[in-house]
């Protein structure tokens, strides 16, 4: 017997011994699984008061997530917001720009742009698909416009997110992406890379970005 058959047959033998009387056809199992999460409020903390962008801002800048955040009135103001960040941190105006049309369409005059992110990239600017207020999470889907390594190579990761893309709970992301093809990678980014591996002390910038900066675009 193959390992696959061995495992499945052992499990099926066990089924009759342990789960007698349990529904065993696919439909009944799926119904049981759905029933478990029918009341979503059971499994999650309650969001506080306020609009989703407000809650998102509060969470992502809280000590737990510890990202920095700046606001831009519109997408067109993003390059200026990036400039403010670079200036405050004494960084050159040289960025790797995620090949996302909304970003590449902006006016980056005065910047030295790279289309690719490299292992030694200092600053990358990207755009998240969603934000999640509950956890202060930025969501990226890998694809031609969103290479995964943009989120992991740079030292400073600057992320544009539109206020209209902020969701409440983790499950709202599931609902929002329901019925769409599953991307190769879904990356939930919740703060800059960190490690507590030496004596439980949190240090940022372990392997991924040391700094995560969010540019929240209020009007889109």
């Amino acid at each position: 017997m193959s390992a696959r058959e061995l495992i499945l047959s052992a499990l099926r033998q066990g089924n009759t011994a342990t789960a007698a009387g349990e529904p065993n056809d696919a439909g009944a199992i799926a119904a049981a699984a759905d029933a478990l999460i029918a009341d979503l409020s059971l499994g999650r903390p309650r969001l506080g008061e306020g609009s989703l962008p407000m809650l998102f801002e509060r969470q992502i800048t809280s000590p737990k997530v510890a990202a920095s955040l700046d606001k831009a009135a519109s997408l067109a103001d993003v390059p200026r917001a990036v400039d403010i960040y670079l200036t405050t941190h004494g960084l050159a105006r040289e960025i790797a720009l995620q090949p996302e049309p909304a970003l590449t369409a902006m006016d980056w005059s005065g910047y030295h742009l790279h289309e690719e992110v490299k292992s030694d990239t200092i600053v990358a600017v990207g755009k998240a698909l969603w934000g999640i207020a509950e956890t202060g999470t930025l969501v990226f889907h890998s694809g031609p416009h969103s290479p995964t390594l943009f989120d992991f190579f740079p030292l400073h990761h600057l992320v544009v997110i539109e206020a209209s893309r902020i969701l409440g709970y983790l499950e709202d992301y599931v609902a929002a992406s329901m019925g769409q093809p599953v991307p190769r990678n879904v990356n939930f980014v919740t703060g800059a890379s960190g490690t507590t591996d030496i004596e439980g002390t949190l240090v940022r910038g372990a392997h991924g970005p040391r700094f995560l900066h969010v540019i929240l675009v209020e009007d889109s």
Binding site: S2, L36, E171, V189, T190, S193, D197, I198, G200, A206
Partner: protein, 486 residues
């Protein structure tokens, strides 16, 4: 390094820790003073953070019950979900492999590495990898293995075994890590603060990520309805491990399934809060199949190795509850025994309460029968377990088996038998206790006994109070007689 910590090398580094008797492993751990300091620094922090996270979530208890039901549902219908997952994973372009044993699992991984012509592989921390002995298997196959999780990197440099499932290098103090990095890194830190050390490791490992031919990760969840696998990490090393090389291999226990993404979310919240006290770790990534058309990065091959290694046996033979485990580590952070002896003394891949339940499955009860015994059954592990695994009950289950199989020392069996015989005969019993009290009092000086034959386990470390002159029963009966006389 102190002499105490170099002594610790034997059970931290032995290829078969069970070849060292349990008592010696304990002694070695307790004699190592820096070990206790290191354990406290990490576990105290972890307990405080978890407590704060749970306190800030009034619905935690309900979520815990729900998490438990979800896992239980999956374990009850594991065959169904495995088949569903496999079909969806294949559809996403992944290759799915099945392994009944740890040897089979390692052989599959090695074979895939060879086919990929791999000289160097990066690994993102995976407890399943430790369980099946993958690090050794890779080395034996002559493949360069690069551990990329910071703690695993430390463990690799020190030739140690991991000592905790969330913080594998928990047994190393910062001073020891600093020394290791100075001895091994190309550009060691200039100063021994933790930030500089982390920066040095970052620099050391960057090139290794780029040079790897294969990346190997574990999985925290397998999502049945999409065929995706989920990794939950902090450092970003998992994504660098899985995105850069041409081949990504996932090794995962078959119990990691969840029906859907929504179910995974419920468990994620429980897992992360219980492990580190955060709401979500920095990086939660769902990996589904290989590189797609138009992708600028990502692996060309994506392999998932589904590993049984005793899990079907656990499910069918009374340890099904254990398969709910999310590997959060809370049980060990709260375990009074773990907090004294650390992870290495346990001998298996998994330490602490959950390790004591599972190690007899992986290594055999005969080798590891001490683990379920070395527990006060105080219940704090179950109390903090995010999926309410009855760890004390499962540990007692092993004790029952040990007893039946005669694995417990003869002296324990005889004394218990003697005691039980007396206790079944109340008349004899009460005579016995009267004699015992009088006998014990002979050893007392002042109110205390400093040394008592047959009880040296007690009196070596603490005093025993001198019993009252007469037992409660004697005293009570006399009072009753006096009362009756009026």
């Amino acid at each position: 390094m102190t002499t105490a910590s170099s002594a610790a090398r034997s059970s931290a580094q032995a290829s078969d820790p069970f070849s060292i008797p349990f008592d010696e492993r304990i002694k070695e751990a307790l004699d190592n003073k820096t070990l206790k300091i290191a354990i406290d620094r990490t576990t105290n922090n972890a307990r405080d953070k978890r407590a704060a996270a749970v306190a800030a979530w009034p619905g935690f208890a309900e979520a815990r019950t729900l998490g438990k039901s979800i896992k239980q549902h999956v374990i009850d219908h594991l065959d169904h979900y495995l088949v569903e997952f496999e079909a969806n994973a294949l559809r996403s372009g992944a290759k799915v492999h099945w392994a009944s044993t740890s040897d089979e699992a390692c052989a599959i991984v090695i074979d895939l590495c060879r086919k990929a012509g791999a000289k160097s592989v990066t690994r993102a921390k995976s407890m399943l990898g430790e369980e099946i002995g993958l690090p050794h298997a890779l080395e034996d196959a002559g493949i360069t293995r690069v551990e990329t999780d910071l703690a695993e990197h430390i463990v690799q440099l020190a030739h140690d075994r991991p000592s905790h499932i969330i913080w594998p290098a928990l047994h190393r103090t910062r001073e020891e890590v600093a020394e290791l990095f100075r001895a091994n890194h190309h550009k060691p830190q200039n100063s021994d603060d933790i930030e500089s050390m982390v920066a040095s490791a970052r620099e050391e490992l960057r090139g290794r990520f780029l040079a790897a031919d294969v990346g190997i990760s574990g999985a925290n969840f397998l999502i049945a309805d999409s065929g995706a696998i989920c990794t939950v990490t902090n450092e970003g090393n998992a994504e660098l491990t899985t995105t850069i090389p041409r081949v990504h291999i996932v090794t995962a226990g078959i119990e990691k399934l969840v029906p859907s993404l929504s179910h995974a979310m419920v468990l994620l919240r429980l897992l992360v809060r219980s492990a580190t006290g955060a709401d979500l770790t920095q990086y939660t990534t769902f990996h589904c199949g290989p590189k797609r058309r138009g992708d600028r990065d990502g692996p060309e091959e994506f392999h998932i190795v589904l590993v049984d290694n005793g899990r079907t046996k656990m499910r069918n033979e009374g340890l099904a509850d254990m398969l709910r485990c999310l590997r959060c580590g809370a049980c060990m952070n709260h375990c009074v025994v773990f907090r004294q002896i650390g992870g290495h003394a346990y001998g298996g891949a998994y330490p602490g309460p959950m390790g004591s339940v599972m190690t007899p499955i992986f290594n055999g009860l005969e080798k590891s029968h001490d683990l379920p015994q070395a527990c006060t059954l105080n219940g704090s592990c179950q109390e903090v377990c995010p999926v309410d695994i009855p760890l004390p009950t499962l540990l007692r289950g092993w004790r029952e088996k040990s007893w039946r199989e005669g694995l417990e020392p003869q002296i324990v069996r005889q004394s218990l038998g003697f005691w039980a015989f007396g206790a079944r005969h109340p008349f004899l019993y009460h005579i016995g206790t009267r004699l015992a009290v009088r006998g014990m009092r002979l050893f007392a000086k002042g109110g205390w006994i400093r040394s008592l034959p047959l009880a040296s386990g007690w009196t070596r470390h603490r005093d025993f109070p001198k019993p009252a002159p007469r037992t409660f029963m004697e005293e009570w009966n006399q009072q009753q007689r006096l009362k009756a006389k009026g």
